[in-house]
Structure formats: C-alpha cells, structure tokens
C-alpha cells in the first residue's frame, strides 16, 4: 500500500493540519512505510472476533445529575489567544 503526495494533502485537509509543501513527499513515504507494517494484520482471520475498545470492557459510569464543576470561566478565558466580552474571537465566519 503506498500513498501519494496528493493523498497526503487530502488527509492533512481532513485533519486541518498544515504541512509544508516540501515535506509532503517525505510524509507520503513515511505513511506508506507504516501502512506496509499494517498489512501484516490482514494475514490473520478475525471474522468471529469481537473488537476490543477498552482494556476493562467497562460500561460508562453514571453519576447523579448534580452540578459539581466550579465556574472557572475567567480563568479559562485568561489563557485564550484572543477574547472579548467573555467570547473567544476567531476570524469572521459569516459575511
């Protein structure tokens, strides 16, 4: 299995991840190497095997519906790159 530079650009777009144009080929090569490693998995028949998502196979724990969090809004806003009037600022989305 090998990926092209074009594939890499598509995946990077899905991940909203900027990669330098001059590095695209090397990512394509590295990812193809990783995919070669992964083809080993297809040697094994796993048809009847239940997938394992979690080591303990535990169900999500429920808790009483009570407010336990403190209000840390100011603290959390203070570490944001850009804020105004209690809002996070981003470039204009709607013209």
């Amino acid at each position: 299995m090998s990926l092209t530079a074009n594939d890499v650009n598509k995946i990077a777009h899905l991940a909203r991840l900027g990669i330098d144009a001059q590095d695209t080929e090397s990512y394509a090569k590295d990812l193809s190497g990783m995919l070669d490693l992964m083809t080993q998995m297809s040697e094994l028949n796993t048809e009847a095997v239940e997938p394992m998502a979690h080591p303990m196979d535990q169900a999500q724990r429920l808790r009483p519906d009570k407010i336990t969090e403190e209000n840390n809004r100011d603290k959390f806003m203070s570490i944001a790159p850009q804020t105004e009037d209690g809002l996070f600022l981003v470039p204009k989305v709607i013209e």
């Binding site: 991940a15 394992m52 790159p81 470039p91």
Partner: protein
C-alpha cells in the same frame, strides 16, 4: 542526601537530620550543575522552596506522610496549576494550566515538593525523547545515547539524581523503556489504576501514569500516593487500593514465571538474551519455577498499536485548534486558515505523522480495514495474555531489543523506531500492569527486565522486583560523574 532511598529521606526529615529546604536546595544545585542533560523543561525553584517550607512546618507538627518534604519532578504531561505545562510541544509553549491533574493534587496533599517539569517526547509520541520541541535529552550513562522515551526526562532525572523520584506515563512503553535504558525502576500500573484527569491525552484507551524510581521499594511508596479511584476520570476503576509495601518481603518460593517463546526467539539480541537468562537464574535461586508460555498473536501488536494509538491521538489532538488555548498563528485569514496554520506551526513532525496516520485509518472506506481490524487483534493479544496468566503467575521478558541507541541514529526511519517498542506495547493493548527493573549492563549501558502481571497485581509485581533487588545491586549503580 541525593543517594538515599525514599524511606531514608523521610526518616532523615523526621529526625531533623536535614530539612526539606536543605534537601530541595541540594537537588536544585544538582539540576543547575547538570543542565546539559536537558532533563527539565521548567524548574520551579521558587515554588519548590515554598513547598519545602510548608513541608518542614508539617513535619514539625508531626503530620508528615511518607512523601512529605521529598522533592519530586513531574513529567510535563501533568497539568500543574499556574505552572507552564508544555507536553514537550510548541503548541503548549505558552500554556499555563488552569487546574491541577489529580495526580498532582495527590502529591500536593502528601506534602511533596515539586522541583519542576520534565522533558518528554512531544505529546508522549516517541521512543527516544528526540521529538521534544525543547530538544533531545541525554542519557547520563553516555551522553551520546538516547534516554528512551517518551518519559526520557523522568528516566534521566532519577538516574542522574536530579530528583528523588519522578512520574512518567506509559502508552506503549513510555515508563518502562526509559527506565530500562536509564537503569532505574519504572512501573506501568493496570489501566484505570491511576487517574488520567489532567494528564494530557495521547491515546486514551492506553495511557497510564506511574512511578519512576531507584527501587521497587520506592515505587511502592510513590504508587501508594498516585493510585486510586477518581470520579473525574471516566475510565478510573473503583477498586480499593491495597498496601503496596506490606508484602515486599514475601518469599518467592513456588512463584511460577512464564517466558513467552515469542520474546525469546532467535530475533533477540544475543547479549540481551544472556543478561536476561542471568536475571531469570536469580529468580530460580529464589525458588521460582520457570515455564515456557506461548502468545502467538504478539507479533501483530506493533501494527495494531500503530493503528489504534494514532487513531485515538488524531481525535484527542483535535482540541488544539488555536481558539481556546495554546499556539495561534499570526493573522489568520479565515477559520480554516486559523486551524490549519496554528496546528501546522504548533505540532512537530512525529505528531503530524501520527495525526495523519490516525485520520487516514478512521476515514471513510478505511475504518474496517484498519481501526476495526486492529481492535479485533487487540482482543486476540489480550486473550493470549489472559490464557498465559492462568498457567503462570507472572510473565518475564526484555523491555527493549538493545541497550540505548545513539542520538540521531533512528530518526530518519519512523518504522524502525516503532519496532523498538516490540516488547512493551502489547501490555498496553491488554491494559495489564508491568514493570522494568535494572538487570545488568551491556557495553556499560543499562538494560531492563520486564515483569508483567495480571490486572491489579501491582503489589505482587513490586514484591517480585524487590526480592530481586535484595540479591542484586544493579539498581544501586550510578552513572559516572553523577555520584
């Protein structure tokens, strides 16, 4: 002072032989002397001295715990309130955590003194501590060699005695591998035993924090503080925490040790095989019975892990969007540009590789072939361990294929780097506890012996490690120049 065990340090503090302030100053002096190792990202000297003064007052009031007043260094993956928390990444170079991780809270309650935050592979992705934005960490046994990763700074801080003990986290070997390569003791607890709250996530179904120390005896004391149910962590396991120190001296007569034939195949480096068989002979002398076990699916652990971990990482790291915290690019033209450039500038090459791999594995049309397939193989590997652990009490094997390799040696080929995780990652897939203990030297570089146990048998693993450390002195060796 810096060569003492944790119980000796605690005794010294409580009998007034030295104060916590003196002890803290002694470690800070050593940190400053050995800055070239690059073990610390941030040294919190002022905070440490404040903590030490408070600890001295607590000791004077006879309210000391086992760790009160003893200096610890934290892997920079644990969020520390109002202290820079970088996870080894440019993305978080400007990030001061707005809350404490549960593990940090527990150390604070115990009266521990935090010396600072330790270097690590970026977002814990790496096996050599070379992917850190803050530069490679050097192994004190030979400064041209890597310390292992991702908890490389932790391994070095303990080995070079720049802290009395340290914390690490282990997603695919990141506690055990640096412990082995730096000649110290490292324990990865059972998944769910130590809270992940405030521990910056890499692969959430695999990540687990644990102690990195000089000895199993010290690790038992540190784990006692770290372990326990945490309602803030949805995968924390609600089971009582046993006393990890009380059974350290149990004799090992009749202990059944399994050696997976897949670990001891012809692929295993000959010098490593010799050292491990010497270690296992020590266990024989202690009365253990040795048995071969088989885990036929072990060889698929690497491909399964390098699908599952990147898939989880691509989801976890989507939170770094340049909007709420962390790095933001200059003058974004629109929202997509803001996300794309902030992430592109904030993440290093290895992190990008894994985000790309994970995004691909989870994308439409590939999910079944990669992610689902890997989860099925995860089940088979876990079943292999479960089966083997009905035949034997513990499994032993290598931690790494070789002693520490050279800085720069494996950076050009990521797959070759991934293959060095062969002996550790299957344990994370199964969620089992395992530890690494020093088991000798090859060409003057330390190597580790891995001991793997059943779920929640940390106390037994520590007992098994401690008994070995009563009849060997590998764990007492100190690199030259760091005595």
């Amino acid at each position: 002072m810096h060569t003492k065990s944790l119980s000796e340090l605690s005794h010294g503090l409580q009998t007034g032989e030295f104060s916590s302030v003196e002890l803290t100053q002694a470690f800070i002096k050593r940190i400053n002397q050995h800055q070239d190792l690059n073990a610390y990202i941030t040294v919190t000297e002022e905070l440490a001295l404040q903590n030490a003064k408070a600890a001295d007052a607590r000791i004077a009031n006879k309210k000391a715990d086992a760790l009160t007043g003893i200096p610890v260094a934290q892997k920079d993956i644990f969020c520390t309130l109002d202290v820079k928390t970088t996870c080894g990444s440019r993305m978080l170079d400007n990030f001061s955590a707005p809350y404490n991780a549960t593990v940090i809270e527990k150390f604070n309650q115990a009266g521990a003194v935090m010396l600072g935050k330790l270097n690590m592979d970026e977002f814990a992705m790496g096996s050599s501590n070379e992917t850190s934005y803050y530069g490679a960490v050097k192994n004190p046994w030979n400064t041209n060699k890597v310390p292992g990763g991702s908890s490389g700074g932790s391994g070095v801080a303990v080995a070079a005695r720049l802290a009395a003990y340290a914390t690490g986290t282990d997603t695919g070997g990141s506690i055990r591998q640096p412990a082995a390569l730096c000649g110290i003791t490292g324990l990865k607890p059972t998944y769910g035993r130590v809270s992940r709250y405030g521990m910056i996530a890499y692969a959430s179904s695999l990540d687990q924090g644990g102690p990195m120390t000089h000895s199993a005896e010290d690790a038992a004391i540190v784990l006692q503080t770290m372990a326990g149910f945490d309602p803030k962590d949805s995968t924390s396991v609600d089971l009582p925490v046993p006393d990890y120190s009380v059974n350290l001296n149990q004799p090992l007569k009749g202990l059944k040790i399994g050696l997976p034939k897949e670990f001891f195949s012809a692929d295993l480096n000959a010098a490593m095989a010799t050292k491990l068989s010497e270690a296992i002979d020590e266990y024989r002398k202690l009365g253990a019975e040795i048995k071969e076990v088989s885990m036929p699916n072990l060889k698929l652990a690497i491909p399964a892990y390098y699908v599952i971990a990147p898939a989880e990482c691509s989801a976890n790291l989507s939170r770094f969007d340049g909007v709420r915290f962390g790095h933001r690019c200059e003058n974004p033209v629109d929202l997509t540009d803001l996300y794309t450039r902030s992430r592109g500038e904030g993440f290093g090459k290895e992190v990008k590789r894994r985000i790309l791999m994970g995004t691909y594995a989870l994308s439409t049309g590939y999910y079944d072939a990669y992610y689902l397939k890997a989860q099925k193989i995860r089940r088979l590997i876990s079943d292999d361990f479960k089966r083997a652990l009905t035949e034997v009490d513990v499994i032993m094997g290598p931690v790494t294929p070789t002693p520490a390799f050279g800085i720069g040696e494996k950076m050009s080929d990521p797959v070759e780097m991934y293959l060095s995780d062969i002996y550790t990652i299957a344990i994370n897939l199964a969620g089992l506890p395992a530890l690494s203990i020093p088991a000798g030297f090859i060409n003057d570089m330390p190597i580790g012996l891995q001991v793997i146990g059943n779920y929640f048998t940390e106390a037994h693993l520590l007992n098994i490690a401690h008994q070995y450390q009563q009849v060997t002195d590998w764990h007492k060796q100190t690199p030259k120049g760091f005595e």
